[in-house]
Amino acid sequence: MRFTIADLKKGEKGIIIDSSSEDIPLKLLEMGCLPGNEVHLLQLAPFSDPMYLNVNDSFLAIRKETAALIIIEKING
């Protein structure tokens, strides 16, 4: 099964595998949402949307629909 950032629960981490979907804004890639980088889901707003992440030393919030486009591998632990 393929995981995306939208599947992460609060406090969980993952490694980005693919972020090449055309609908991901370039700005997000430039802030560090690139393959190989670690994502840490810090907090969720009500209804799990938007999502508050730490990736590549950047702290940012994105909407769930965007998060669902970024494919990751979950890190257990």
Binding site: S19, P25, L28, L29, E30, L34, D57, I62
Partner: protein, 698 residues
């Protein structure tokens, strides 16, 4: 005049770029506009040694040279155009200690344009506390640059930075990356086609075309070179970002050590509370409540002082230049009261922006955006619409301008269209007098009916904004894709200097933008009220004298003034629209007030004062109130009843009665279509609501 050189400040948002700008220029700065766009252009002068002056340009914050908003577009347009008079001799990339990696992405892009670039690392005083150590010499060597470690908070390192700026010619312009690795074949063929152009510049021009569609392509004809689809280009841009980060990580691995255990838990502790699913909203609501309380409480005294000063100034002009006739009248009643009508709002607007900029500087505003986005999106708005909607309670003009950082055009447009529904400061004087007139001065459980009505009006304004956003969201069709990325900056204590400069800037914008229109319309209204056709206007004295019984001189003069106003041009307009507004419960006198309100709503009270001939008895609220209470139709029924009062309150709550806002909306949307829609739509809603209210209550 000594030598001058151009310096551009470039950096991510929230890195203290503005603090560095303020530290370099002091108050020696001005805000203008870039030609054709409404992006603020902040410039200042910094004196270096030996008579050399640096023109410092504070460019809008951006994460890269790939623009996704008008503000960011300004940066790339300038850097691609060597002929621009502001083209920098040297660029300063401002980064803070913690976001160095991300800022280096932008840094390497600027370097690859072969512009001499200095890396400024701000908040260097926090390095040890954050457990970060940098090998500056190694960084300088690897990045081919000079580095200035500064702390704007402690005012450290600014002299060293100035020296680096002065010696900018010694800085290497060697690029960081060989950009052809993005796509070797494509770059080779590009270079062959334009042998005289810088290859990375060509690449940027091509990709901007794909991204934004608006950048001027200058002298390059690249249209025949669009051999790649937008998707392919985007893919290459992603590859560019990856390659740049590979380079950056390679450098930082050697030159930076981070001791993660030293990272303070302040962010996560505050976040746990401030964006908590329940407490987050409670705290936000309390903060809002506190702000409004303070704004209205603190602004009362200065507003009273301004009000009475302008009244005495007008009086002084009248007394001092009695021979001036119409000119004296124009100055005293048209111009001075027009300017007074603008100045009186300065205290409330300044206080509101004081709080907003403190919330923004501290990093809290991003948390509000995070909390509110989901809720606002249901109504076609964005989390980023919250700031404009709050600003709108002071004045719609700065609020409309505050929508610029909403990336999504549809969400931005809807925000602009509904912001004028929020209860701005100009509605307040109208509300206060009508409420005092028609709402009983009783209370229920310690809450006065009058205060509850006022609160209700605020809620109704906000409710209508949200409701119409919901409707607009369903009607408007746009092709723009939604996207939403909010940086969650570190919490920090706001710098007083930054806050004050923001307050001054915003207030100035209001005074200049709204001021000139309010002033112009005040003069037009004065002319319409001071001239009239026919005998009744020109010989008012004899008409009034004929009908009058014994009266004091004051009363007689007031009667004459009222009679003149009735037969002036504006009085004629009022009478003409009477059939239209009668169903709402207003007579022609209120009609004059409505017409006059198109300049600015608060004119209503002053106009009524003149109509009800209490002019010489000053604009004392009690006097006007008593006079309005006794106002009757010919058949003896009262004009101001609960029904007509509520109807009038609703009309003022919803109607678009502000020319200045319309002008700003036209500027921000670059089309007359939206302000016209706003004017007709809002006025229609106001009319219908007022009609229903009056007809059911009477």
């Amino acid at each position: 005049m000594g030598k001058q050189l151009n310096v551009a400040l470039i950096g991510n948002p929230n890195t203290g770029k503005t603090s560095v700008f303020n530290a370099l220029t002091g108050l020696n700065q001005k805000v203008g506009n870039y030609p054709g766009v409404t992006v603020d252009k902040k410039q200042g002068v910094c004196k270096l040694s030996r008579g050399v002056k640096a023109n410092i340009l504070d460019l809008p914050g951006t994460y890269s040279l790939n623009a996704s908003s008008l503000d960011e577009n300004v940066v790339i347009e300038l850097l691609l155009n060597k002929n621009d008079k502001d083209y920098p001799d040297v660029a300063l990339i401002i980064s803070d200690v913690e976001t160095l990696k991300r800022n280096l992405l932008l840094f390497t892009q600027i370097k690859d344009l072969k512009i001499p670039t200095i890396l400024v690392i701000n908040m260097s005083d926090l390095m040890r506390r954050k457990g970060i150590a940098l090998d500056i010499e190694l960084l300088e060597e690897k990045l081919h640059t000079k580095i200035a470690l500064v702390s704007t908070r402690k005012n450290n390192g600014m002299e060293g930075l100035k020296q680096l700026i002065e010696n900018y010619k010694t800085i290497s312009i060697e690029p960081c990356l060989d950009t052809t690795i993005i796509d070797e074949d494509y770059f080779k063929s590009l270079q062959k086609a334009f042998p005289n152009q810088d290859i990375y510049k060509l690449w940027l021009v091509i990709t901007q075309d794909a991204n934004f569609g608006k950048i001027s392509r200058q002298e390059l004809d690249i249209s025949r070179f669009k051999t790649k689809s937008n998707q392919e280009l985007k893919h290459l841009q992603q590859k560019e970002a990856i390659k740049r980060y590979q380079f950056i990580n390679g450098v930082l691995n050697k030159a930076q050590t981070i001791d993660r255990s030293k990272a303070t838990g302040l962010r996560s502790k505050l976040d746990r509370l401030l964006i908590h699913k329940v407490w987050g909203y409670v705290i936000f609501f309390l903060i809002l409540l506190g702000i409004f309380q303070a704004v209205y409480d603190w602004a009362t005294l200065p507003m009273d002082i301004i009000d009475s000063s302008f009244a005495s100034l007008a009086e002084w002009v009248k007394v001092s230049f009695p021979g001036g006739g119409k000119v004296t009248d124009l100055i005293a009643e048209g111009i001075i009261s027009g300017i007074g009508g603008v100045v009186i709002f300065i205290p409330q607007i300044a206080f509101l922006f004081l709080f907003i900029s403190i919330l923004e500087e501290s990093g809290y505003m991003s948390r509000v955006v995070f909390l509110m986005d989901r809720v606002m999106r249901r109504f076609g708005l964005s989390g980023k619409s919250v700031v404009p909607l709050i600003s709108g309670t002071a004045c719609a003009i700065p609020a409309v301008m505050a929508t610029r950082n909403i990336e999504n055009w549809k969400e931005r447009l809807i925000t602009i269209l509904v912001v004028p529904f929020t209860t701005c400061a100009a509605r307040l004087p109208v509300y206060l007098i009508i409420i005092a007139l028609v709402i009983p001065d009783n209370s229920v459980m310690g809450l006065s009916y009058q205060a509850l009505t006022l609160m209700g009006l605020y809620l109704i304004g906000f409710g209508m904004a949200i409701f119409s956003a919901y409707i607009l969201d369903r009607i408007l069709k746009t092709k723009h894709k939604t996207f939403f990325v909010v940086e969650m900056p570190n919490y920090k204590l706001p710098l007083i200097k930054n806050v004050l400069i923001t307050v001054i800037e915003k207030t100035k914008t209001f005074v200049l933008e709204a001021g000139k229109i309010i002033l112009a319309i005040s003069i037009v209204l004065w002319v319409m009220a001071s001239y009239g056709p026919g005998d009744k206007f020109n010989n008012a004295e004899s008409y009034v004298n004929k009908n009058s019984t014994f009266q004091s001189n004051y009363e007689l003069n007031d009667q004459i003034a009222a009679f003149k106003l009735e037969h002036s041009y504006i009085g004629i307009v009022g009478k003409t629209i009477e059939p239209l507004i009668r169903p709402l419960g207003y007579d022609w006198k209120v009609g004059i007030g409505l017409v006059a309100s198109f300049a600015a709503r608060e004119v209503f009270v002053g106009t009524l004062a003149t109509i009800y001939s209490v002019g010489s008895a000053s604009e004392d609220e009690e006097t006007i109130k008593t006079r309005m209470e006794n106002e009757t139709y010919e058949d003896g029924t009262k004009v101001f009843t609960l029904a007509s009062g509520i109807s009038l309150l609703l009309f003022y709550a919803f109607a678009m009665q502000c020319m200045s806002t319309l002008a700003i909306v036209r500027r921000e949307t670059k089309s007359w279509k939206w302000p016209i829609l706003q004017l007709t739509g809002m006025t229609a809603i106001a009319y219908i609501c007022a009609l229903i209210a009056f007809q059911t209550l009477k």
